[in-house]
Symmetry: C2
Subunit: 195 residues, 2 copies
DNA sequence: CGTCTATTTGAATGTACTCAAAAGCGGTGG
DNA sequence: CCACCGCTTTTGAGTACATTCAAATAGACG
């Protein structure tokens, strides 16, 4: 399996030694996920950090009315996990599944812990990764509490241009927190404004 | 200055040695902040992690219409910083100020970096702290995209019971993303339901 | 080709906001 | 101790934003 993508992903934050890279990549397992196949289901304990090499996953909940609410899309070069379930080893209330045929690399919790113990640089790598994700979530919360649905859609459009024409609109609606019907109407309005 | 609170805050995640604790606490600076005084202003580079020993801070933005949107309340035992501005050393778009007379402990970026270099355990401490904050933000996003204002208020009520009667309602409204007028109406409805 | 899902459209409804004004409340100075 | 000031909270009417439900249309996949 080719580890170029995950290595350059990590090297973006910290320059690692060959020894560190070899140790880490030797712990990775490779999996192919079919469309709609689950990587994590409600009730499971999240036992891996998952890196997407190809394809696209999503992280979401299902509420009491059966409506899905998407927390994160994870296309190529993204990490995904239920961090709370992973670290505290409690059952997750989230799902991860594939929106497309997807190839992933995973590291298990024991392997990640032993990596932290052996090479503290990885504590730093994962600290920085979470910090960046944290900042992204803060921006999203500000959007949600301060903007209309139209503004949120336009922000999504600018932030993830490669995903807009790749994902079904229902998924995008679920991510920005509106109904698919209303997103359809928003898009119609936007199209009319621009003509 | 008394460091009991911050030490027990950190020991919650990792048991530190006396040497680690002494090194860390010797780098902390103590400040008293008056009500409405700024700890961070838009345009500054966030140069410290701030721990609240007493009182209450808030982290927020001001939008183009002059409306404040609150990202975080930081009462006793909470940490607050603009993590993005801190790590990438870019000007912040956030404000931190005091809702009450407040006492804080701060560690500067150079001191935090040197702490990380000398004692890698602190990489882990701060990784775990950010992970926990991250999980909290995920829950808040799910609330925002899946719930009505009334549900969000009730969740806030359950999550921060000690803050509900301590903060002005305008601040809580700003946190859950509604107008103060509408929060007032919600509370009236809730009071009537329960009688 | 047929089936399943996604998208669009419309009417009716509910949720939340705006603006304006009144009422309540705490602190400060005379 | 009272009167006043500034700020928060409440109230109401009118409006805008977003949802629900139902049905029609369009696309995608096997």
């Amino acid at each position: 399996m080719n580890h170029d993508r995950i290595i350059s992903n990590i090297n973006r934050w910290i320059k690692l030694t060959d020894e560190e890279i070899d140790f880490f990549t030797s712990r990775l397992s490779h999996r192919k996920i079919r469309r709609k196949q689950y990587v994590l289901q409600e009730g499971d304990i999240c036992g891996h950090y998952t890196f997407v090499n190809k394809g696209c996953l999503r992280l979401y909940t299902v509420d009491g009315n059966g409506i899905e609410h998407i927390l994160q899309f994870a296309p190529e070069d993204y990490w995904v996990a239920d961090i709370g379930s992973f670290h505290q080893e409690v059952p997750t209330s989230l799902y991860i599944d594939a929106l497309e045929p997807t190839e992933i690399l995973q590291i298990s919790k024991p392997d990640l812990i032993s990596t932290f113990e052996k090479f503290p640089a990885f504590d730093r790598v994962f600290r920085i990764m979470v910090e960046n994700a944290f900042v992204g979530l803060q921006k999203r919360i500000l959007q949600n509490i301060s903007s209309t649905a139209e503004e949120r859609y336009l922000t999504f459009f600018k932030s993830y241009p490669q995903l807009v024409n790749r994902l079904p609109q229902t998924q995008i609606a679920s991510y920005i927190g509106i109904t698919p019907e209303f997103l359809s109407k928003l898009r119609k309005n936007l199209a009319m404004k621009k003509l």
